[in-house]
Point group: C2
Chain length 414, copies 2
């Protein structure tokens, strides 16, 4: 792999993709979706090679599950690509249009970022999603997937390349890296000339490793230790529904709740309602001493539990004096992702809303709503847990930057 040459190809492609009309960009995506469907057998055959290798490498069932492509998952991928095509154009949006005191006419518009690198795990669907989102937003992308998904990603990328070719667009708009070793990857993500933005998609371990090693701008996504706080004024049946939804509806995702905070004075009443529901859903609970004293089947938890993203049917329950202690707990153990308060006390709600420092702060709503589709943004490239550039669900707009165009008649600075 010659990363300098690949980078140069991607840059050259990015200079073209940023100026493609929305009709061409959408046309390519519709063709991509069509190609995915017609290449179904080929993609499944490539996927079988990956699965076979992964089995030989002793990968776990959950890993194999995420790697597996079927007719229906390929259909879902194609539909996702079509949905991306149907989203509004994120480019050429006029964000400001005004005449400066100097008489110069300023226009601020959204423009493509350039070359976006994406590092993801062995989930071939991510390959198609990212190719579609970066291309729709006028960018070129360099994709590095988990090595166990390589053949599947090659087959998916070929479907995209064929679509690009049909519209006369360079296939360098979407480049899939072929097995870079650790040193090559490190050289790639250390070189500030190699790309404009790097997005890691996957487990918090993957993200941490990218953040620690990259020298190019990175958007940190994904890690979610989300909290729900229930106070004495809460509608307790509503609180049970929210907690069960936030924990159990899809425990593997980042917007699922990991820790429930309960105002001490209401813990006994609330837990008598909640504990049977948790049991019914098979949720394992680590709790503080007071909560354990109320429900003896809870296991004793510790700071380490409060700092853990389970992504599983496991949760923490911690009792607190009130909203201030709840906010402090979130500040000390959260990941600035999504937190919810269930309460009918205006003062408590207002304190929570103004003092929690997270991307999404909910009142009487499940944390599971932190999602591109729920927010009306369409498919998302990730959920940003940092504060720069984009925060929360990142739709197409997060894959653009801005350019100032200034028009004048010989103006000079005084």
């Amino acid at each position: 792999m010659n990363i300098k040459e690949i980078t140069a190809r991607a840059k050259a492609a990015a200079r073209l993709t940023r100026n493609l009309s929305i009709e061409t960009r959408n046309g390519v995506l519709m063709q991509f979706a069509c190609n995915l469907r017609s290449a179904e057998q080929k993609i499944i055959a490539a996927n079988q090679i990956d699965l076979e290798n992964a089995r030989l490498n002793g990968m776990k069932t959950s890993f194999l599950d995420r790697l597996t492509l079927t007719a229906s998952s390929i259909e879902a991928i194609a539909t996702g690509v079509e949905q991306t095509a149907s989203l509004p154009d994120p480019l050429h949006m006029v964000l400001e249009d005004r005449i400066l005191t100097s008489g110069v006419h300023l226009k601020k518009t959204s423009t493509a970022i350039g070359v976006i690198g994406i590092i993801f795990e062995s989930r071939p669907n991510v390959c198609a999603d990212c190719a579609a989102l970066t291309f729709k937003s006028g960018n070129a992308c360099i994709l590095k997937g988990g090595k166990d998904s390589y053949h599947s990603c090659v087959a998916i990328t070929e479907a995209m390349h064929d679509a690009l070719r049909k519209y006369g667009v360079s296939k360098d708009a979407v480049i899939l890296l072929e097995h870079p070793d650790h040193a090559e990857t490190q050289a790639w993500i250390s070189d500030r000339n190699s790309m404009d933005l790097l997005i890691p998609r996957g487990s918090s371990r993957l993200i941490r490793s990218v953040v620690d090693n990259a020298r190019v701008p990175v958007i940190e996504t994904g890690a979610g230790i989300c909290h729900v706080y229930v106070d004495e004024t809460a509608d307790l049946q509503m609180a049970v529904n929210i907690v069960i939804n936030a924990k159990c509806q899809r425990p593997s995702v980042c917007n699922a709740m990991e820790t429930l905070l309960i105002q001490k004075c209401t813990a006994e009443r609330f837990l008598s309602l909640l504990a049977p529901a948790l049991k019914e859903h098979g949720v394992q609970v680590f709790a503080d001493e007071y909560a354990c004293s109320i429900i003896p089947s809870f296991e004793k938890g510790s700071e380490e539990n409060w700092n853990t993203e389970y992504n599983d049917l496991i949760m923490n329950i911690v009792t607190v004096e009130g909203v201030r202690e709840a906010v402090n707990h979130i500040e000390n153990h959260g990941t600035h992702h999504s937190e919810s308060i269930v309460s009918s006390d205006e003062n408590a709600v207002s304190y929570f809303m103004n003092n929690v420092d997270s991307a999404c702060i909910y009142h009487n709503v499940s944390t599971r709503f932190t999602d591109g589709f729920e927010f009306g943004l369409g498919a998302e490239i990730g959920i940003s847990t940092q504060k720069m550039h984009a925060r929360g669900p990142m739709g197409l707009q997060a894959l653009t930057t801005v350019t100032y165009h200034l028009d004048g008649n010989g103006e000079c600075c005084k």
Copy 2:
């Protein structure tokens, strides 16, 4: 220096500053300006110590110039702080307000970032500017200035601390680091828990070193190899004015032009007008062979020249076939800062506008307009040359992030 303890103090302060009313934030700044004026003698005395040390350390005159504070420069600093106070509040701006399909009420508002680190050189005015801008935007800041300006910065910071005290705000809102050594600085900028954003302000060498060594999010600012391209359809007298303004009006700043690109067929005509003006302004010129053949007093330049930010009365002149070659030169040698085309050919202008990949792209205007005040943003914390978060002049808005507040009535995800 115990950086963990300093970080904890700044974080605690940031939780308070983000909720201060605009009246309190502006009141503190007006008091800060007032204190700067009344502490004039004290600040000058502290500055004398710094100057004496710097002289003993053998620093150059230009360095001592930038370090020197006088009654009038302190007045200018105080006026700058007052101007920051008079700017609109960048917080609590409602950026989106809508009801999601689920019925949940979403509000996206601008909020403070948290703790902002700023590393700057021995220019005490930067200390006051940064304290004012970060505080106005509801953030806490940790300032690390060049060690030769330490006593001056202490005196300025004291004026801010006194203002904070008068309004009952923790002085940890503005922390000046006391001589951290290299290892301590490295530990500080490597720890992703230490701050939310780091902004280096100063020479490209300082910025490069921060970007290479930091593990926290950094906004890259400042480096400006800016270009002006003049084609055969240009109003040549306008082009002369723009080139002289862009190079000579303030050559030390990042938005000054370093390289002039001229369409070959117009080079002879244009240079016969321009060369006398450049000579009159004492500009040294490095040029390509063709330009040298027209004006023999030009020195022969090379790729190294085309890649140099002179920040001085020195410039490059390169002749090109047309707008495509001009854009390619900018792509290969520019820093994505500010470029201008002087032309009356609509096609050339449109190609330039759509294909140059810089923060600010001008038509018939000097590059010197890339500036917070000229853009109507007020004082700027820097000019971003990267594409994430903020691009071009960064005003107060660039020191904020967004928060989604979502209000509902027990909504759960389906």
